[in-house]
Symmetry: C2
Subunit: 143 residues, 2 copies
Amino acid sequence: MIQDKKNAFNKFAAGKGLRSTRQRDCILNVFLSTHQHVSVEELYLKVKACCPGVGQATVYRTLKLFVEAGLAREVLLHDGQTRYEHVQAGEHHDHLVCTGCNAIIEFENETIEKLQDQIAERHGFMIRSHKLEIYGLCADCRS
Amino acid sequence: MIQDKKNAFNKFAAGKGLRSTRQRDCILNVFLSTHQHVSVEELYLKVKACCPGVGQATVYRTLKLFVEAGLAREVLLHDGQTRYEHVQAGEHHDHLVCTGCNAIIEFENETIEKLQDQIAERHGFMIRSHKLEIYGLCADCRS
DNA sequence: CTGCTTTTGATTATCATTTTCAATTTATCG
DNA sequence: CGATAAATTGAAAATGATAATCAAAAGCAG
């Protein structure tokens, strides 16, 4: 499925007349190899490890392309850094967000999803997506 | 209910040994008179209109106090500006958001809340608040 | 009032992100 | 193959929102 995403990006790039470069390949590889929500800084450090000489500006620019291409999504936490997360097919949007350390724990709960469907139906509402965020303190930050 | 909020802030201020100042009163009045999500800049302009000479720094500082006092909440949009919205007593955090007409339908579901508690407990997480947003089309926009 | 502490406003600093621009790289076409 | 035009890059500078600094002013207890 990593290949799928690479193909998706290439298709997007071709459609926009973008050129294929070593830097973009590298950044895409690194991004696809990450989990959770990565900040630009984190990504930049990883990219430097495998492709030294790549500038931050390029990382910033390329991430915006990924968003345009539908591969990534910006996530705003409260630490002043924009983070990027993968856009997955059939992904879930349910998170426990720790306001202490900004950790994010993802979860999925089928019962909650079903209840959402019921509620939507009751209001004649057609669901396209949803986001459930629970804020609080994670186990580490409580102690 | 505006008075309630003023009282709430005064109580908070008293508890923290904060002093009552003309600037804070003015900023609180202006904030309470706004709707939607206001940016610091917008607030600053309105404050200047009624209390000229108030500095931006004071507006920033005071808004953070409102958050601490539980009157306001930071909202991060994707325009690089932090906005503040009102925290209302007995407010619901569960919304059906219509992407067609921007209508917002509030709802509450006890079962979902309980499930959230269970999930949090399972992860050793202490819930402070939550937000559930279901995006889609409302009955009107579907037709 | 007096003295002590908080608050303020102006300025400066900080930090993430964006822009600029000359140099380089890529794709295209003869 | 080259040559050419267009896109891309990296380094550095610019930007813009927010935070920190600090001397002066204001609030408050005695």
